[in-house]
Structure formats: C-alpha cells, structure tokens
Symmetry: C2
Subunit: 424 residues, 2 copies
C-alpha cells in the first residue's frame, strides 16, 4: 500500500477539524486542499497548513489529483451539488452529512454506481459508533428483523437529567442549551428530525429498500413530564427517545421516532446522557447492541477516517473498491402508516373521583379489543380528582386512538394527560 | 456478482449445522462438500444433502473448485494441517476456531500472505458480535488504548446467578452443567483459558503485534464467593470475569484475564447471563461497546456467514480480496509481567478482634505506597473474629503482594480471604 491517497476536504468546522487531526497521523493520506467559507478566519488547529485553504470548493471536486472528497460541511446545499460533481468526476465520497444522505442518498448512490465509485457515510449515523459496516459485512448473513436505537444525544441527555433530577423538560432544555448540548433552535433534536434522518439511513441499508424520510412518523420529547418518568420507573421502565424500524409480516416497514417506555431489562434502558446505542435484531444473530458517543469532534472524525482508510487501503491494491461499500436499493419500501402500527401503550388520564371510573376505562378499552395489563391509581390529587395510569397489551394505534376518543366523551374524564408507547 | 462462490465445509457440529442453514439462503454460495467424522451418523439438519458428506477432509482442501474453506471442526489438529494445505492451494479461509488462531494464527497469517489469500475469523471472538471487522475498518483511524470485555458466556452466567441468588460457585456451576451452559470439564471456561484465547486474538489485531497467549496472566472465577459479590455491590460494583488488554506508556501490552469488581457506572457491569460485551477505547472515538450473544449455533453461524459473504462479494469483482482483511503482525508484543501491572484492589481479610488491627492494615499498605480508599467492618463474625474489606487506590501488583505477605506476618491476621482487582 505504498500508493498515497489524495483527499479534498470540504468544510473545517468541528468535524472537519477533528478529521484533519486524525487523518494527519497517516502517512499514506495527503490532504491536498480544504474548502472553507473564509480563508482568513482565525483557526487554532494543530497541524493546519493555511496555504491549502481555499474558498473554491468547485476546484476540489474537479481536481484530477484528488481520489476522495471528504464532505463535512453539512447542510443540503451546496453539499449535494458538490458531491454530484465529484462523483461524475470519478471521485469516491466520504461524508458525515445525515440530512443529505437521508434526503438525497438514493440519487447519489445511483450516480456513484454509474461512475464505479463508492459513497461511505459511517459518521452520518451515531457518530463514532461503527454500525453501517457491521450491518453490511459481519451481519450480512442475517435477515434483519428490527433496528431500535437511541440516536440523538441531546434528547437522551435531557431525558436522563429529567429522570435523575425529577426536573421539567423546559428547565433541563435550558440547562442543555447553556452547556452547548442543545442548539438555540432545539427542534431538530427535540422533535426527532435528527433521529428520523438516522433511522431512515439505517432502515434503507438494513432492509435494502429506499425509505422516504418524510413519511417517517415522529413525536418529540417535549410532552414528557417527570410524572411520566416516575410512573414508568414504578412499572419497571425508563423513558427514551427511540428510533425504530421493523419489518411487518407483509414486508412493510414500520419506521417511527417517538419516546418509549423501555423495560429496564432491555439494554437500551441503561444508555444515559449523550451516549447513543443501536440494537440490531437478525434471524441468525439474535440481538446485538452497538453503543458509544453519537456525536462530537473526535468520535465523528474517527468514523470519517475509518471510511477514508478503508477506501485508501483498497485503492492500494484493486482498481475498484469494496463491493461491500456499495448501495443498491432498487425497490421502494412500503412504509406502514402509524394507524396500522402496533405497540403496547402507557396512558395517563385525569378523571373525576366517582365510582365506576376505572371500570369505564376498562370497558372502553375492551370494546376496542385492547387488553389492560397494569393499572395504578394512588389516592387522589390535591384538587380531588384521580390520576390513573394504564399499561395496555399490544394494540393497534387506530384502536388506541378510538378508545381515547371514546374516553373523552365520558362525563367523568377530565384529561388524557399522556400517551406513550412501550417496548419490553 | 453473478459468479458463484464454492465452499468446502470442515465440520458439521453445532456451529457447522448453523452455518449450513444460513449459507443455504444465499444463491451465490454453493457448498460443494462437507467433511465429517462419520457420514452415517443420523443428522436432523434442514436442507442437508447427505450426498455431499465425506470423511475425506483432505479432498476438500485439495479440490481446485473450492474457493473458500470454512473450518468449524474446532481443536488444533487436524484443523491446523488442513488449513495450511488449503492456504497453500490458494484457498481463502473462514474459521470459528479461537484456539487455533490464538495458538497458530501468526503462522497461518504469514502463509495466507504468501499465497495472496485471506483468513477471516470473526466468529472466533465473541460469537455473533461484530468486533474484528469494526476494529479493522470503522475504528482504523484510532490508536487503540484499551480493550476490555466479558468474553466467556459460561462464567458470566455463573457470576450473574451467584449475584441474583446469593449462591455458592460450586452449586451454580453444577446447575450450569445440567443446563448445558458449562461443560463436564469446565476448566477451559472457569479458569479463563477461553477468554485468554479471545483477548489474545483481539490484542494482536488492535495493537498490531504478535501476542503469546501462553504469557497471558489468568485467574479463574472459582475463588469468588457470594460474600465478595455482596461487598462489591455495597461499594457500587458487580463482579465479572474480565479479559483486558491495554498499552502501557512504554508500549508494552498489559494483557490479563481475571475477575474484577466493575463499577456499576461502567457499561460492562450490566452485561448479564450468557451475554458477551467488548469495550474498545481509542484516542479518537473514546469508548465504544459491542454486546450480544457470545456463542451458540446461530449467532456463531451469523459471523461465519458474514465472513464468507464478505470474501464472496469481493471475489465477484476483484482478483484479490479486501486488504482490510489481511493480518500483518510483524513485531512481537512486549508483554507486561503481572508484577508490573497496576490496578485498584479489593482485599477481604479475617482478623482477630483486637485494638489496632485496622491501623496495622493501613500502616502496612502505607509502607508499600498503597493508598486505601474505602474500608468496611461490620461488627464481628459468629466466631468472634473480624471481617475487614479494603479498597485500594491504583497500586502495583508487586506492592500488593508484598503488603499481603507482611499482613500475614501479623499475629492478629487469620486469613487473607480474597484479593480481586477493580475497574472503575
């Protein structure tokens, strides 16, 4: 492997700086140019040669010396156009851009295939955790049945803090923003957009089908209260924002992102703070879990560099790089509608304190074919009303929604305060 | 990838049967022959064509039609000789044989290199958990600083049961033997030989050096008592059999297998029953963990098949398979002696109930430069003696041994009942 591999780096923010530091350790890698917005900006990056900075990103994707374009600028544009041009020019791509891969991955994969090059994006899902290559290689003998994970560090940090301190969502969010764990506009994390991009990428790879990220059902964590966390704990569960993709019997894909009560016996229940983890279930392997830092300068750089070195190592020997790195999703996934999905449910309601209230709840659920597994009511609230928490058996979302509608029509019902899905 | 890959399978025991079932799902894989000890043995394996069974393993390794030899017979001989012949005949190897790779890996890797073929052995470490390929690829940008794991399911099952039931080692071992989780001669598992083979393979890959498995320090779990497990829990720890490999400042490798108190805050503390898990620490990624089933028919078959498909996929396009699958350990590791290793220690002693006993223990440790962090004594035992448990700060093994020797010379000391290392 004496051949040197020449890199053009697009972007020199947090991930770009880390990538530069890590790639600099490898003698067989040459970073020829780095495209930035402002070459005069004061940067304090060890080992940075200011002479290779340029504002002309087009120059990099057109440079015949460059073997691999490493895109760590983020955002859809101009990253999309630059990568397309690079692919047309026969360059391999390594990217950490989850928005781009989730939204335009399939266009890029086709273009890569036409041009006999590869696109690698390990860093786009769960930062430093190796997950895409294990799915493509070590686990390739499996029919994957389910992927479930904690794929967003910000929301996991918030939920962990809410649990350990009993604090309200808004208070912890503010604290997370001050610590730099949450952005000033936190909706991308809190509303599950970020996790949806990641599960979209994973599902497309694991089930070998094109997934439409815009069809993924999403709920955020902003409606979770410390009351729910405390009841969940009493039932033996923690609450986590889960990104989920599973195949139904009819080969439809049930993909969603929402908070869930996770059984404390499940390995995901113990993934705390900003850590990420992904559980993969396959017909042969059973269940394996990958956990670690899902973001950050150096962990993300670790994954970007792993991809670069994998391509570089192959280029040293073979004309065409790893077939295992290729992406061929020729069929569109049939994506299950949320109404047709099945879960167990946690339902917290507030009712008048009258005889027959619990019986009514039970009958309403029963009429929709929903079995109740557990129920908690502890005395009365200070205002004289009752807080009742139900855990259901596996039920269809549409039946749950109808039961909730019916509950609301009861005179005794004041509020359905929360409905959260459950994973055992 | 229309080219079909032809397999010769050596062995049709538990792992062999699973491998056959999984490989049969893939149209591009043809299993030409399976070498077994007895072709007439009654086998109940779905999809098995009895006509491809043979007792002539030599025939397979010499068959020019066969691209990959999959060795799942286990044991050193004749597996070693057969694989050598296969390599000389230009065949790729996939094996689940940890004893063989730990003992003769380097000979085989050199022979593979000479013959421009690869040996893959994902299944040899931690069964179904992808760990070798992630180390070679996704994490290849890292300097690995430490690997620590629970790599033996039998001992983890025993320790988990001892913890949950408060039972003695011998009782749980017997139960595990009845359930088929432990062998009739359990020493390979219980004494840490199995885990030593696995950490030897991992360390050699992660630190890119030849490791001598016979130099790895080992202690079994048979001296762990429910008393230790209960004290550990009080200090905030669980007890696990840990296989550990870390690089010292002088680039020596500190590799050992022994029980450890693992902080309940460490992800390994929550890996229970027969599950395995491996934590990898790298300079860029920080800490990542891989967990799942470390043995069993189908999980092991999952890893074997992943290796077969990786080679097959590459053979469809390129003349030579994945450079990332190659093994080049040209330097021998300097392996640290146990005396020079550093740990925190848990020490449980039984002493006379006399004034100054605790002070004496403290002074003895102090003279060797060992700081004590915690100490527990709760009243007296029924026989009027005292049980005292110490937790030390980081100390050299040789200082601990000298301190223990000195403690023994005190008139008041009855027994040093247990010494266990600690990981935070």
């Amino acid at each position: 492997m004496s051949k040197k591999t020449v890199i053009g780096l697009l972007g020199l923010g947090t991930v770009g700086s880390g990538t530069l530091k890590v790639l600099n350790k490898f003698d067989n890698i040459i970073i020829k140019n780095i495209a930035v917005r402002d070459t005069n900006k004061k940067r304090n990056i060890e080992g940075l040669d200011n002479n290779i900075l340029t504002t002309d990103a087009e120059m990099l994707v057109n440079d015949p010396d460059i073997d691999i374009i490493v895109e760590v600028m983020g955002g859809l544009h101009p990253a999309f156009e630059l990568i397309k041009k690079a692919l047309q020019n026969g360059k391999h791509i390594v990217t950490a851009n989850k928005d781009l891969i989730a939204k335009h991955g399939e266009d890029l994969f086709s273009l890569a295939k036409e041009n006999n090059v590869v696109i690698m994006y390990e860093a786009a899902v769960a930062g430093g955790i190796p997950i895409l290559m294990p799915l493509r290689q070590s686990l390739s003998g499996n029919s994957i049945t389910k992927i479930a994970g904690i794929m967003n560090g910000t929301t996991n940090y918030i939920l962990t803090k809410m649990e350990s301190e009993g604090s309200e969502f808004n208070a912890v969010l503010k604290e997370a923003q001050e610590l730099g764990y949450a952005e000033s506009d936190p909706s991308g994390d809190v509303q599950g957009h970020d996790a949806a991009n990641k599960i979209s990428i994973l599902a497309s790879l694991a089930f070998n089908k094109k997934v439409d990220v815009d069809k993924i059902y999403r709920e955020g964590i902003d409606y979770i209260s410390p009351i729910d966390i405390s009841y969940a704990s009493e039932f033996g569960y923690n609450i986590k924002l889960i990104a989920l993709a599973q195949e139904t019997k009819d080969k439809a894909l049930d993909i969603r992102v929402h908070p869930m009560l996770i059984s404390k016996k499940h390995p995901l229940a113990h993934i705390n703070d900003v850590m990420n983890a992904i559980v993969v279930e396959g017909d042969a392997v059973g269940q394996v879990m990958f956990s670690g830092p899902g973001a950050g300068e150096m962990p993300t750089a670790s994954s970007v560099t792993g991809d670069v070195l994998s391509i570089a190592s192959e280029l040293g020997i073979n004309e065409y790089p790893l077939p295992m790195m290729r992406n061929n999703h020729s069929t569109n996934a049939v994506q299950l509608k949320i109404d047709d999905s099945r879960s167990r449910y946690y339902i917290r309601v507030n009712t008048d304190n009258l005889p027959g209230v619990i019986g009514d709840l039970g009958l309403t659920c029963g009429r929709k074919g929903i079995n109740l597994c557990s129920i908690i009511q502890k005395g009365l609230l200070p205002d004289g009303t009752a807080r009742i928490v139900l855990l259901t058996a596996l039920a269809y979302e549409k039946d749950i929604q109808e039961a909730l509608k019916e509950m609301y029509q009861k005179r005794t019902m004041k509020r359905v305060e929360n409905v959260i899905r459950v994973m055992d």
